[in-house]
Chain length 272, copies 2
DNA sequence: CCATCTTTGTGCACGCGTTCACAAAGGCAT
DNA sequence: ATGCCTTTGTGAACGCGTGCACAAAGATGG
């Protein structure tokens, strides 16, 4: 999920810590921070797992990659674990971040408190619109794209957030990378190409919704048992397709693997 | 991933389509739509894969789950494939969506064009602040939380977007679910608990940044000589910088840093 | 000091997802 | 038709991630 291109070992077992584990550490950290604020001294893997919404065995295995920080019969020391995870994630140091594209989303991100809370500091806001230049957003004056390279260089920024329209994303990305950025969080609905060594993570609202729609459609089409029967008012054919817009390459009527689920869900009717 | 809780087979082999494949379909669809607009009649798996940023073998296997829509020696018919994927994802029907929490982020989402583009329609904006009630955001008047149940019921909404502060998220979630919502896109930095049958996908800016920071730190710590030749499995000695705050794995007596607001994350007050 | 109880840490097995590599299928030129 | 070339569709191998189940480790009480 973090690849801009497709390569990279993906294994990314940086030092032995699986990527899946890394992705969960922030979750644990959040739960632990909450416990810390309530002055809870220790937690068991069961409790913490529950708070983080994961399996306790998984949590223990995750922590085992960090080392053995628990005490058998007791659990984990909250404060200590907060520190260890923070350190592992690199949150004990300061991470200046630039946000490029100060539209609705960019502005919202700039105002987002989640940045500053954990070592992330918004070093600059950048936008291509000269009109915005100088105007403060979230207390930080917006700077023009022309300054991009200088800003990154001067502040030693290594993490960039792209919140521009899709059309400008790749271009901005290239400039960020050329300027020294090695980690990018991309909100633009585009696939970014980056050289090896640069990490890209994408946040795509549209994709998330489409995935939800898929499951939603499936739920609506299965609940009744066999026939259609949808809750959300509207009609719309479930799966049994309507007529496709364009004629298939005339080769469409291939044999369908009859191994379709035992639930005999949908008659695989192919457009003739 | 997409689970609010931890259970659920996760297999989710809806009809044989792996979850990982479903997550990529929107990517393919986007690439195909772009080709369609350029009136490109057909594409090979290689070309399309490149455009979507994935491996071509993976793409072919993904499509094989949908059926055989390609022509050997030629490739895939763009228009036809756009239709098939759209139908599979359930985008041929209308999906009314409600956004709860019209702060900076909620407003940005409301203005986001990505919604309407693919069958998703913002049916209503909901916020707990009476001040906002009636005021239009993105051309849609904000309604008060009191109306939540009625709005969902009247519009047959099945997908909800939570953009509230973390403290309010679970409560809002519960009400949404009780009102009939079965798919939730959660932007609040919290783990949501939902009954079985309800899908939750989360988008967490803070987590993404922390993951990036992890890799960033690793890059910074390895590039130079990388004197530390420790191998995985071994007791992980503290990385680069600073020494641990307090005691070793025995019993920590760490002190809390004076800073650090609430859980950070969102400018909101957490319920005790 | 010993017995018991709690909770961690992990070996192991299983299943999903990815990738390779190739046979089959179709187009196209001759 | 025949043969060659392109590209799909997929069988099989492999690796990662997950979860079970249990032995080891340590706390606690007598």
């Amino acid at each position: 999920m973090a690849t801009g291109r497709n390569h990279r070992p993906a294994t990314s077992r940086s030092r032995g810590i699986p990527e899946a584990t890394v992705a969960r550490l922030p979750l644990y950290l959040r739960a632990l921070t909450a416990l810390s604020e309530r002055s809870v001294p220790t937690v068991s893997s069961e409790e913490l797992a529950s708070a983080a919404g994961v399996n306790s065995a998984k949590l223990r295995k995750d922590f085992s990659y960090l080392g053995s920080y628990g005490t058998r019969g007791v659990g984990y020391d909250v404060e200590y674990l907060v520190y260890q995870i923070s350190r592992e994630l690199g949150l004990t140091q300061d991470w200046p971040v630039v946000i490029v594209g100060i539209g609705n989303l960019g502005a919202a991100l700039a105002n987002y408190g989640g940045f500053a809370s954990r070592g992330f500091r918004v070093a600059a806001l950048i936008d291509a619109d000269p009109q915005l230049a100088g105007k403060p957003v979230a207390g930080i004056p917006v700077q023009h794209t022309d300054e991009l390279e200088k800003i990154i260089s001067d502040n030693g920024v290594s993490i960039g957030v792209i919140a521009t329209p899709a059309g400008a994303a790749q271009q901005v990305c290239d400039r960020l990378v050329a300027a020294g950025i090695t980690s990018i969080l991309n909100f633009a609905p585009t696939v970014l190409s980056v050289p090896e060594g640069v990490d890209v993570r994408k946040v795509d609202l549209s994709i998330e919704l489409q995935i939800l729609a898929f499951h939603e459609q499936r739920k609506a089409g299965e609940e009744p048992g066999a026939s259609s029967g949808r809750r959300p008012g509207e009609a719309a054919a479930p799966d049994v397709d309507t007529a496709p817009p364009a004629a298939p390459p005339a080769v469409a009527v291939t044999k369908r693997p009859p191994e379709s689920g035992p639930d005999g869900d949908l008659p695989a009717v192919m457009p003739a």
